[in-house]
Structure formats: C-alpha cells, structure tokens
C-alpha cells in the first residue's frame, strides 16, 4: 500500500465555493477532479498538497451541449461521457476515437476532461485533440471568467496558464460543417500512455482543403500542435503526396526525447506515420460527409 503524506480534504459545493477555497488556501492547495493523476502522484509523494479541494460535487461543471456554433463540454465531464456523447461524435468522431484508447473503462468512469487538460501530461490525448480542433478553455476565478485558446493554454509539461485561485470550467470547440476527423495512437499496451499520437480534422470543399488542424501528443510538439504542417495543407488538394508532405512537416514540429517507450527517431517517424494515417481517414470522412 502506498501512503500519501498528511493532507486535508475539502469538498466544494459550487464553482464560487471552489474558487474561494482555492484562493484562500493558496499555492499549497490543489483542486482534485477524477483523481487519476493527482492521487497516484500523492501516493508516490511526488505531489504533496496540504489540502485537496474536491470538485466532484459541482453539478454545473458537468455536461455536453451545443451553444451557437460551439460544442461546450463542462470541465468535470468524465471520459466515459465524452466517449459516449452522440453530440460530440456527430461533429467530431475524433473524440470517441481518442477516448477509446485512453486508459481503461475504470479510469474513464471517474477521470475528467478538465482534469486531463489541467494535468497537461505531455502524452495527454485530449490535449492533442483540443489543440487539433483549436478549442478554447474557459478559466474562472474570483474576478470572472477568461477564455484562452488551447494553443496558448500550456506553459510547458504539466504546466498550464490556470493560476492559483482559478479553475478550468469549460472547454469550447468550434463546429465546422463538413469536417472529417480521426485519431491515431501507438501504445505499448492497452491503457498505456501513447508513444506518439496524432489527431486531425480536415474540411475538404471544392476539391481542396479549406480548414484543418493537427494535434500530436507525447512528442513535445509546442502546445500539442503542428501549425506548419497545417499551413502546407491549406488550399491544397488532398492528394496522397500533399498529405505525406504535411505529415513529414508535422514530424519536424515534434521534438521527441528517448525514453522506455521508444527512441527519438522512432517517435519522430511515428509523428509522420500517424499524422498521415489520420489525415487519410479524416479526408475520406470529409469527402464522404
């Protein structure tokens, strides 16, 4: 049995309650969502907050809805709810594809999208999806809410722009009619973090790509995205040659480091290979839409 250091526990009853507690407790407190990252880190004593503020009782942080031309996902929505959401699937099958390869059903029942985004693990699947879709984060503090593009959400590995006394409350993704999307991941075993992942959306209109996004996890791409590869595709016909060129460019935007999941050359290769595979499927889906 792994034993965490002494810790106080507080259960927040509303967004305002959570924020006021976190603000009052300061840097030594941490909000806890599903707990699948924070609690293990506490048990290994890699994290030792003095107080954890539990967000699980805040109903208003849960749910998936369409608002105008945006998909809105509450930060405390579980992976399982994202996985099974018909609304998300209708607009972006990438959500379901990514969720299918995140951890296992037990973790997905409690783990949340907001917790995953804020943990900002370099291998975070939903961070890659969010950056691919150019979504936005709504961050709330005592002075109100601010909206930050997900491509500006991270300050580095495990670091985000969410400040002490703030919580991530919503994720918003623009709806793009006619978009196709896909997610590709190589993992050493079911439930493992990715060795490399790539998620894309593509809108093909009039025979050319009119919009696209490429996200990658586990390969140290800045903000989990590949903007230079996207630029190569804009206005181009979705030919195999053009897709391959973009995939190669995406690999150049990755900065993988060697670890027990694999050497850097392999991860860079995967960035290209998986991006190409995802692009092919997303293009086919958009053209079929």
């Amino acid at each position: 049995m792994q034993t965490p250091a002494p810790v106080e526990y507080a259960k927040a009853t509303s967004i305002a309650d959570a924020i006021s507690r976190l603000e009052a407790l300061g840097e030594d407190s941490r909000p806890v969502a599903g707990g699948y990252s924070l609690i293990p880190m506490m048990k290994l004593r890699l994290a030792r907050p003095e107080t954890v503020v539990d967000l699980n009782g805040i109903a208003e942080l849960r749910g998936i809805r369409v608002e105008g031309n945006e998909l809105v996902v509450g930060a405390m929505t579980t992976h399982a709810d994202v996985l099974s959401s018909a609304i998300l699937f209708e607009h972006y099958p990438i959500f379901r594809e990514a969720e299918h390869v995140i951890a296992d059903p037990i973790v997905r029942m409690r783990g949340t999208i907001g917790g995953s985004m804020c943990q900002a693990d370099p291998a975070s699947d939903l961070s890659a999806v969010g950056s691919a879709l150019r979504g936005n984060a709504v961050i709330t503090g005592s002075s109100g809410s601010r909206t930050v593009p997900l491509r500006e959400f991270h300050d580095g590995p495990y670091e985000t722009v969410v400040q002490t006394g703030e919580i991530l409350t919503e994720l918003r993704y623009p709806i793009r009619p006619g978009a196709g999307s896909a997610y590709e991941k190589v993992e050493r075993r079911a439930g493992d973090w990715g060795v490399c992942t790539s998620g894309v959306f593509v809108v093909v209109s009039g025979g050319v790509i009119t919009d696209c996004g490429i996200g990658m996890a586990a390969v140290n791409a800045d903000h989990y995205c590949a903007p230079e590869a996207e630029a190569l595709l804009m206005g181009k016909a979705p030919t195999e040659e053009n897709l391959a060129a973009a995939a190669a460019a995406a690999a150049n935007e990755a900065n993988p480091i060697a670890d027990q999941r694999g050497p850097a050359d392999y991860k860079r290769h995967l960035a290209s290979e998986l991006t190409l595979r995802a692009l092919r499927r997303a293009v086919a889906a958009s053209q079929g839409a």
């Binding site: 075993r189 079911a190 439930g191 973090w193 060697a258 027990q260 999941r261 050497p263 392999y266 991860k267």
Partner: protein, 798 residues
C-alpha cells in the same frame, strides 16, 4: 477435447477422483473473503516501513535518525549499525552468498534497505522515513553486466574479504566441450546469435510482507508471511537468527500469487522479526508495489551467445551456449545447491543430437538481487528460449520451414527414457504426435499459404513455433537440496470416524488450486468425495516438513506423496475391512471407495464404514493400530518432463511496429491431468506471462543504476486486450515413475510461450532481413529491427 475417463460423481456433483470441478477455494476468493498476510491484525500491532537507497552504489557516511525518532507515534528506528550488534546486519542467501539486511558500509543497488522504522501506524512509519538523514557518497556504478569485468570496474562486493572483481562464479559448465567442438567442426552450417533474456519481474498481485509476533511470555515466534516455502523458511530463520526451531511457527495464509517471488527470505521479513523482539509487540511490514518491483527477486538477466551446427539438410549436430549471467548485487537465487545456473543445462531441448555444451559465468552488478523467479523452472525458461530461438535462426539460414526442421530433429518415442547430452533423463514423450496435433489445430499449411499471399500484398503476418521440454519436480535428495535441505516432501492423511478426511501438505499454494487438486488425488485413491477432504497447508505447526511450492514441484513431489499416503491408508483400511468382514485381507478386492470380498461383491465395506470401524470397538489383528491415518515422505526418483508444442500467429504493422497476437495454440503434455480445468487455468496464466515478457515486460537500468521499471506505469503487464482467445489442446503421456503418472505443469506455458511469440514476430518481419531482436518486442523495438537496428533492451533506450 479433454480425454478424461468417466468417473462417478459425488452428491455435490464433483468427480470422485480426477476430472473437472470448480475450485473449492474460489468461493472465498470471489467473495473477497480470503485471508492474506495484510489481513492479519493483532492487538497492539505496530507497523514497519523501510527506508531505501536512492543510489545504486554509494558509501554511507552516517545515518541520523533523531528527527524520525522524535515524530509522535514512532516507536523505534533500526539501522544496520544496530543490527551489527545483534549479528544480523547480514544474512545468508539461498545460494550461500550473503545479503545485507540493512546496509552498513555502503548501498549496492537502488532500493536497497537502509533503515527500518517501527510506528503506531503505517502512515506514521512512512512519514518518519522522510525524517531520516542519510549522508551518502555516490560511487561509480556497474549497471551493464557486460562491463562488470572491465579492468577498473568498481568492486561491488568489497564486503567479501579479498574480493578484487565482480565475479559470482567464473565458470559452470555442462556437456562435453571437445565432442561439441568436433561436431561443429564437421558441420555444413553453423549459426551463432547473441540472445538476451532480459530481466523481468514476477509481479504477484499481492506484494511481500509479514507479521511477526515474538510472544514475550512463551518465547515463541509466530510469523505470518508471504512465503511459498514455509518449512524451509522456518529452518533458515532458526539457522540465521539462532532462534530455536521448535519455537518458530511460520504461517503462510492465502497468498496472492508467487511465481517464485516469494521463495527468498527478504530483509523485510527479518526486520519485522527484529522489530517484534525490540518493541515487544507484533510488527507488520507490507511492501508497496514499487518496493516489490525494485527490491525483490527478479528473474532471468541472461546474456546467451548461442550457436547451432547442422548438416545442410537440416540435421542438427550440436548446440553451444556461452552465458553471461547478471545476478545483481547479491547472489540471491533460489535453486538446488549443485546447480548454480539452475537447470539451464537442459538447453539441448527436444531434439536428437549428441553434442551439447554450455558454460556460464556469473557477475555482480549494482542491480537488485535475485535471478531465479517468475515461473522459470530453475532457468529452463532461459534454456528453452535459447534453443527455440536458435532453431528458428537455423531454419532461416537453411531457408527451411521451422516446423519441418523441428519434425526432422525431434526425439522419437522409442528413445525414451532419453539421456540427454548434458545428462538429463527425460522420462516419456511422444513429441512428433504432440507437434502434429498443434499444427493440425492451428491449420499450419493454410497459414503458410495465407502468409505468402499477404506478403505479396505488403502485409506481414508471422507464425512462430516453440517446442519445449521441461524438467520439474525437484528433486531426488541425493542430487538436489537448498541450503542442505533435501527436496523431499512429507504428507499426512487422517480419515476421521465419519469418513471425512484431512490431508496435510508441506507445499503451499499461491493460487494454483491445491485445496482442490490434492483433495482430488486423495479422492482418486480412496473414493472419498473431494468435498469431504480438507487440505491443510501453509502452517509449519500443522503440516509435515517439505520444501514448498516452486519450480512446478507440487504435483510431481507432493502430489505423489498424497497418492502414496492415501494408498497407505487404503492398505490399512483393507486390514480393518477384513477384520470387520471376518476374512483375510488378501481375500478382498478394491473398487473405488470400497473393499469387497473377491467373488462376492455384495459383501464389502465402504471407506466410510471402515473409518468408523477403525475408530470403534472392532477387534483388530495383533500389531495393527486403530484409527485410519498415515504419513509418508516422498523422495522423487527423478524429475518429471512435461513438454508441449506452442504455435503463435501474429500480425505486424511495419509502419508502427505494433504486434497483434492473432492466435495462440498450446498443446501441453503434462501426463495425467488431475483437474483439467485447473491445468487449463495454469496454462492460460502462463501464456499471458509469455505474451507479456515477449512484448512488453522489462526492468531496464540506466548507466547510473536507476531502475526504469519501478511501477506498473513502467513495468507493463499484459491485459486481456493483448491476449487472444487461447486455443488449448493436449496429449497425455504419463510419467512412468510418478504414482499417478502426473507431471508438473505450473510453469510450462511461461517457459514455452515467449519463444513462440518472438519467433512469430521475427517470422513476420523476416522479409526485411531480420533474424533476431531481443525481448521485449515493443513497437519501437520491432520498428527498429525492421530498420536493421534493434534496441538493446537491458539498458535505457537511447
């Protein structure tokens, strides 16, 4: 599928004797009502926690425990210095080496035990560890076994007087080198391959732990502990600690998996005993998952340069293996004394050739101690992997189908009992028949056609075969002992007046189903329903002496003991029945559960009637004692030799290196099957082990000796997602020297399956010019192998 004789069934619907029945122990396990060491809670019990070294090699200058002692709730802090005063700072390993209980001079691997805190709760004990201040001077590290013998390599075991190198043993050899060299000299084809069997960990679901209770009033030590060998442990504690053996009771309650991990004696067990003596209160110590992975008995770590010689037609002429064995910082392997490399010398495998030779050199490194664990049958795992891999390399060199090459060389039935070129005597086998059953089941020829068609389309599937021969059931006392304790096992059987029985075993289950299997053995011999037979084990005060459960030895050794003790009771029952029936014992004939008068089957007594009569007022012949019980000690005449043929089919994605195990056919021959369902369960578990070792399990180390597999995020175990629907088959070739013809099976699948998986993957990517890559075949490693640059898997990936 399973050829079991029709047997009568009991009122409860169980077979009387052999056959499928639901495990008796499962009810409590599936209800969460098992009783494990961590479930033991005694009044006044304290909790221990171990401070472990963050360094792989470092001098200890000083240890300051004052802040920890000042933490409320801390009762004591024990260091190596304290143990030195008691003569307990070092303990013997099961291989006549020594191991530090708590480090005194320096630490020799990351995770080594440095101090022990005893506190009122587990949390306080853990908090106190952070308050202990150890002043270390880091030393140069030997993490790479290949560099352990470099000139100038730091000397790890400078605690041993005069030690000037890192050699555990210089050379252990088997077979005839000159004969083998001659065979190689005359061969058309010689293939050599460096093959690494990397370090893996048994990872039982339950980690190791103990509760020690030294009763200050009676002077008796009761130790509840996670052990596969309670009696051997009792004796070792007596020898090490100087405690009188009759005042030690070792209790191994329900054990949540062992796989060899729970054979050694760990410092934590000793520390709980010391703690209980110091504090005069019971002390519990349970390690956490990372402690288990980083400090307890690992397995393998064998670098095997393997060569095979053959004619150009594919007749094997000889095999040679040159092994560099990495034993970690202390030689903590558990194996029979005369076999420092375990049973590795059985590497000549299942084939008919006269020349085989191996030599093994073992070294110390700054890695956790261990070496024989994880269902390896004393290193037959390594042996089978080496021979089955090199046979495939030869097939590739000869451009011959690996099935054809094996069929050409398999031992033939008339050669049994077969004396191998390294001195083993295989008891029985019909190898070709078993292999053909496997090939038929998998549809071998069709698969090869499919493979050819797919390759033409740029799709890569592979078919891998492993034909293994095991030697299990250690062992004959005159050859096999551990720390001088002969590997024979006792068994007691008592039949109560109402015909219900208790059988007491020296071996201890860790989930193998002994409570069912051994009841069925007694049932088979006496006709008492298995639900009426209680199996008692795991408590040294209540069971006969024996060496415990590992190396697939329970059925070959204790299973034989159980059959023989039941036969002894049956003979006694005959005398009692004869007295009751007023006839001579020789006039009686046995049928299952009953002695009856020859030629007059109506006149007879059931075993239950006989049991009551044996305890009653019936006058027995002079010299015949009453009651119905017996005891035996079984000293096996030899090992039993289970074998099998495994065929694995994989699909490989060359763009990502991902491997999908599509099918796995396993045909096992373990002789008589007592409970086929339990056998199949054992095989399922072992096959999952094999897939895990072949594709993902790994404890690598970086140059600084940091353990890179110290959690389940890093040390990956396979899940159902990686396991195909196992397809099992069987042939039955009974062991001629075992009382019921059974052979051990617990480790067969773990031993046999890794080679099948690896051979399948290499077969799939052979068109890229790949002949070998070391386990685990992670996606990265497979992709790199395709690029011609496979990963070195015992060190950090670069």
């Amino acid at each position: 599928m399973t050829a079991v004789e029709e047997v009568p069934t009991s009122a409860a619907g169980n077979p009387i004797g052999f056959g499928r029945m639901v495990r008796k122990e499962d009810v409590r396990f599936v209800r969460g009502e098992g009783n494990y060491v961590d479930d033991v809670n005694l009044p006044g019990m304290l909790h221990g926690a171990i401070l472990r070294s963050p360094f792989a090699h470092a001098k200890i200058n000083s240890i300051d425990t004052s802040a920890a002692l000042a933490l409320p709730g801390v009762v004591a802090v024990v260091t190596g210095k304290d143990l030195e005063g008691l003569g307990l700072a070092w303990m013997p390993t099961l291989s006549y080496d020594t191991q530090a209980v708590l480090a005194t001079d320096k630490v020799r691997f990351q995770g080594q035990e440095v101090a022990f805190v005893i506190a009122e709760s587990r949390y306080i004990a853990r908090d106190a560890l952070e308050l202990i201040d150890v002043d270390y001077d880091p030393l140069p590290v030997v993490a790479d076994a290949k560099k352990a013998l470099d000139p100038g390599a730091p000397i790890i075991r400078d605690d041993k007087e005069g030690k000037t190198d890192n050699i555990v043993y210089e050379k252990w050899e088997a077979g005839d080198e000159a004969v083998t060299d001659a065979a190689f000299a005359g061969a058309d084809v010689v293939v050599t391959q460096e093959i690494l069997y990397p370090r893996v960990h048994p990872s039982p679901m339950e980690t190791c732990g103990s509760v020690a209770h030294m009763d200050p009033v009676t002077g008796k030590l009761i130790l509840w502990t996670t052990t596969q060998a309670p009696h051997a442990h009792r004796t070792v504690y007596a020898l090490v600690a100087g405690l009188p053996e009759h005042k030690i009771q070792v209790i191994s309650p329900d054990v949540g998996g062992g796989f060899g991990n729970k054979v050694p004696i760990y410092p934590g067990y000793v520390l709980s005993i010391v703690g209980s003596i110091v504090a005069k209160r019971p002390v519990k110590w349970m390690e956490d998952r990372s402690e288990n992975l980083m400090s307890t008995g690992f397995a393998r770590d064998y670098h095997m340069t393997t060569s095979i010689a053959s004619t150009k037609e594919g007749k094997i002429l000889g095999v040679k293996v040159d092994v560099l064995a990495d034993h970690g910082a202390f030689n903590g392997v558990a194996q029979p004394t005369n076999y420092p490399a375990g049973f590795f010398s059985i590497f000549s495998g299942s084939y008919d050739y006269p020349a085989a030779y191996c030599k093994v050199k073992a070294v110390y490194t700054n890695k956790a101690p261990g070496g024989v664990a994880y269902a390896c049958s004393f290193r037959i795992t390594e042996a089978v992997y080496a021979i089955e891999r090199i046979v495939d390399c030869l097939a590739q060199e000869l451009n011959m189908d690996p099935a054809e090459l094996r069929l050409k060389n398999l031992l033939r039935p008339e050669q049994f009992p077969y004396k191998s070129p390294t001195g083993w005597e295989y008891d029985s086998g019909e190898y070709e028949k078993t292999m053909k059953v496997a090939m038929e089941m998998v549809g071998y020829d069709e698969l090869r056609k499919e493979q050819a068609e797919k390759r033409a389309k740029g799709e890569y599937m592979g078919i891998g075969i492993s034909f293994f021969t095991e030697g299990v059931g250690a062992g004959p006392r005159k050859h096999m002992d551990i720390l001088g304790l002969g590997m024979a096992d006792g068994c007691d059987l008592r039949v109560h007046p109402t015909g219900k029985a208790q059988v007491r075993l020296s071996v201890q289950t860790q989930g193998q189903g002994h409570e069912t299997t051994f009841a069925q053995i007694v049932s088979h011999e006496l006709g008492i329903p298995p639900e009426d037979i209680e199996v008692i084990h795991g408590d040294t005060d209540n069971t006969p002496f024996g060496l415990g459960t590992y190396g697939s030895r329970s059925t070959p050794v204790s299973g034989a003991a159980a059959a023989l003790v039941a036969r002894k009771v049956r003979d006694r029952a005959r005398i009692v029945a004869a007295a009751a029936l007023e006839c001579a014992p020789d006039d009686l004939e046995w049928e299952l559960g009953r002695w009856f008068v020859k030629g007059d089957p109506e006149r007879g007594k059931t075993i239950q009637e006989i049991a009551m009569a044996a305890h009653g007022s019936l006058e027995l012949p002079e010299g015949v004692e009453g009651h119905l019980d017996a005891q035996v000690v079984y000293n096996p005449p030899d090992l039993t030799y289970p074998y099998g043929c495994y065929i694995c089919v994989v699909d490989v994605d060359p763009g990502t290196g991902q491997v999908k195990v599509r099918r796995f056919v396993a045909v096992d021959d373990c002789g008589t099957r007592i409970n086929p369902m339990i056998v199949e369960g054992q095989v399922h578990g072992g096959l999952a082990d094999g897939v895990g070792m072949a594709l993902m399990e790994l404890i690598a180390f970086d140059e600084d000796g940091n353990n890179l597999g110290g959690s389940f995020m890093d040390y990956l175990l396979p899940t159902s997602m990686e396991c195909p629907d196992w397809e099992l088959g069987e042939t039955v070739t009974p062991s001629p020297h075992h009382p019921i013809g059974a052979k051990g099976v617990g480790e067969s699948a773990t031993v046999g399956s890794p080679a099948a998986v690896v051979n399948a993957v290499i077969d799939a990517i052979a068109p890229f010019g790949v002949r070998h890559a070391d386990m685990p075949l992670t996606p990265a490693n497979v992709w790199r192998a395709i690029q011609g640059n496979p990963i070195r898997t015992d060190m950090a990936v670069e």
